[in-house]
């Protein structure tokens, strides 16, 4: 089990990962985070593993590549979120709205719809979301969300 200082360092690593995503639109690799924090690569890699274990971020299996740092995705998805001059990938429809919620910013969202049914354009402006009557389907109940995060 991590001691308190390791635990706090892990959360600092997490904050650095999220800060990098906000600034650059993509997650940092281990070397980038290590350089930014002045830590050895191995220490940051171990922190990535522990953060993955506690669902604070999600790595590609067998790697230290960040796949998911909710609400952000490390890989292209059907959900593109534009906030000012920066664009982000969201993991799902909920996370597409989660990005402006996390940033406290307006956003323009383009979502590719299932079944090749074209795209939908949503917007967050101030306190409101604007769309055309779209709905979001959550296929799995809450107790199963971590069974398969990509499918959820």
């Amino acid at each position: 089990m991590a001691d308190d200082s390791t635990d706090e360092r892990d959360w600092a690593v997490r904050a650095a990962v999220f800060g990098h995503i906000v600034a650059h639109g993509r997650p940092p690799d281990v070397a980038e985070t290590a350089a930014a924090m002045g830590l050895p690569d191995a220490e940051v890699a171990a922190a990535y593993d522990r953060l993955h274990g506690r669902h604070a971020l999600f790595l590609e299996p067998g790697t230290h590549t960040v796949r998911i740092a909710n609400p952000f995705s490390g890989v292209p998805t059907p959900y593109r979120v534009q906030v000012g001059a920066r664009a982000y990938w969201a993991n799902c429809a909920w996370d597409a709205l989660g990005i402006p919620a996390a940033l406290g910013a307006d956003a323009a969202i383009v979502a590719a719809l299932p079944n090749g049914d074209g795209t939908a354009a949503l917007a967050v402006v101030g306190e409101a979301v604007r769309g055309d009557g779209e709905v979001v389907h959550l296929p799995l109940p809450f107790r199963r969300w971590y069974d398969n995060l990509v499918e959820t």
């Binding site: 996370d95 779209e134 109940p141």
Partner: protein
């Protein structure tokens, strides 16, 4: 969690894949959930959220019943 033009499109998607329909939220409901869930995600003091805290958020938004609970019998 996919975006659809309508509930009918959700039903057709589920039927084609032989999947059970889960929960369907309006955009306003999803936005309210996104704000409650993610508003503090970039705060350096964020330390995760317990399952019980998650369920409390759902309840605060009127999302109750087995789908939003930790077990089939909750809600």
């Amino acid at each position: 969690m996919l975006l659809f033009r309508s509930e009918g499109d959700v039903d057709r998607w589920c039927e084609r894949r032989g999947r059970a329909r889960g929960a369907v939220l309006s955009l306003d409901q999803t936005w309210a959930l996104a704000r409650a869930w993610y508003h503090d995600r970039l705060d350096p003091s964020f330390r995760g959220r317990s399952a019980a805290e998650a369920v409390a958020i759902f309840r605060g938004l009127g999302l109750t019943g087995p789908f939003w609970s930790l077990s089939d019998g909750d809600g």
